[in-house]
């Protein structure tokens, strides 16, 4: 599901939080459900909310915690937590996106977690054919992703494919936080192969792709956008590779940030760092 969330200058902190949380937990699935501070006329919802994959597990003031079930391996559940500040109106801010391997519900404590600063603020909608401003949100079985041009950031939590390490070390996370503006990734809990220092650790790095695809055309002269897979590897895991679900490497600078294109009827949103996020 792709949500183009647009806001008015009158938006409040409470409006902003309620809209973001409602979109994520599936209680808002159309523009009619958005708050009074949203610009419903210029917002849109396309696609289907991934039922039974994402659930809100706790709301404590401005800290909201969600569970996410892996899109293809239903035995794997990880968690993410959104933290908002108390900024008034347009100064409201989603400050932190924390990713966790586990969660203790009784005490609302994340287990094996790493916080990522994201700093996304609301902004009033500006009608522009090229850059309609607002926050784009993708939610589907394999990822949760945010993008804000005016806050100059885009990021998401993506499912990972299995590899030999996840097979042997079952606590190794199968989701990754990716900053799709910079290409940086973070996984809070993976098994490091380091001789006597082997054990579970957090890792960070930069996503990789085999080659940089170029924009091509077919015999009919139609543009062909080549999408290559994106991988994560890390020296601490002997460069064992994970495929990243719903994230592709596209050619350099062929789209502006937040452009949308179709592939076999499924929308993709482009990001800085030449990535495309699959919306369904």
């Amino acid at each position: 599901m792709l949500v183009k969330y647009r806001m008015q200058s009158s938006i409040t902190n409470a409006n902003f939080i309620a809209d973001i949380i409602g979109i994520l937990d599936g209680t808002i699935t159309s523009t009619a459900g958005l708050s009074a501070g949203a610009d419903a006329a210029n917002s849109s919802f396309v696609g289907t909310y991934p039922s039974a994959k994402i659930a809100k597990v706790n709301t404590t003031s401005s800290t909201i915690t969600f569970s996410k079930i892996h899109g293809t391996d239903a035995s794997v559940t990880h968690y993410f937590r959104l933290t908002f500040d108390a900024g008034v109106g347009l100064a409201a801010k989603l400050t932190t996106f924390t990713v966790a391997q586990g969660y203790t519900s009784g005490t609302n404590t994340l287990l094996n977690s790493v916080a990522n600063t994201v700093d996304i603020s609301p902004n009033p909608f500006i009608a522009s054919a090229q850059f309609p401003t607002g926050i784009n949100i993708v939610i589907n079985n394999n990822c949760v992703w945010f993008s804000s041009i005016t806050s100059s950031n885009s990021f998401g939590l993506f499912d990972l494919g299995a590899n030999g390490i996840t097979t042997t070390y079952a606590q190794n996370m199968k989701m990754v936080y990716v900053n799709t503006r910079t290409g940086a990734y973070s996984i809070p809990y993976v098994y490091a192969l380091a001789g006597g220092g082997s054990g579970y650790i957090p890792i960070t790095g930069t996503i990789e792709s085999i080659t940089v695809p170029a924009l091509s055309s077919n015999v009919a002269g139609t543009a062909v956008i080549i999408e290559n897979p994106v991988f994560i590897t890390n020296v601490n895991q002997g460069y064992a590779a994970y495929g990243v679900n719903n994230l592709f490497r596209i050619g350099n600078n062929i789209f502006a940030v937040d452009s949308i294109y179709n592939a076999a009827g499924v929308r993709r949103v482009s990001s800085a760092y030449n990535l495309a996020i699959v919306t369904e």
Binding site: T63, T83, T98, G102, T104, T107, N108, T109, L110, L111, N112, S113, V114, A115, P188, Y189, A192, A194, G196, G197, S198, G199, Y200, I201, P202, I203, T204, N236
Partner: protein, 97 residues
């Protein structure tokens, strides 16, 4: 504990590594128990930390939480300071005949 090795494993982003010196009750999950103890020491359950066992020690890695507790000994703050370049003693210039 080899601090350089710890930095190689955890990286150079700012963070702290504590050693957990308490004990884990039999039958309880060590990760949950140590996280709870760390949250108690930090005075908030909104802490971000990773619990791991390396070099026969139970370690807590955190990027943004500082605790002062008998149960958590600070092992190292990352990144390690850059080693100062060695100062080469000045060589006396040889006089030319």
């Amino acid at each position: 504990m080899d601090l350089q090795k710890l930095q190689e494993i955890f990286g150079t982003e700012p963070g702290r590594i504590y050693a957990f010196t308490g004990s884990v009750p039999e039958g309880s999950d060590p990760v949950a128990h140590i996280t709870e103890a760390f949250a108690t020491a930090a005075g908030s359950n909104l802490v971000d930390c990773v619990i791991t066992q390396l070099f026969d020690s139970r370690l807590v890695y955190t990027r943004n939480t500082e605790v002062a507790s008998d149960s958590f000994n600070l092992v190292v703050e990352l990144p390690l300071p850059e080693p100062e370049p060695e100062v080469q003693p000045e060589q006396p210039q040889e006089e030319t005949p």
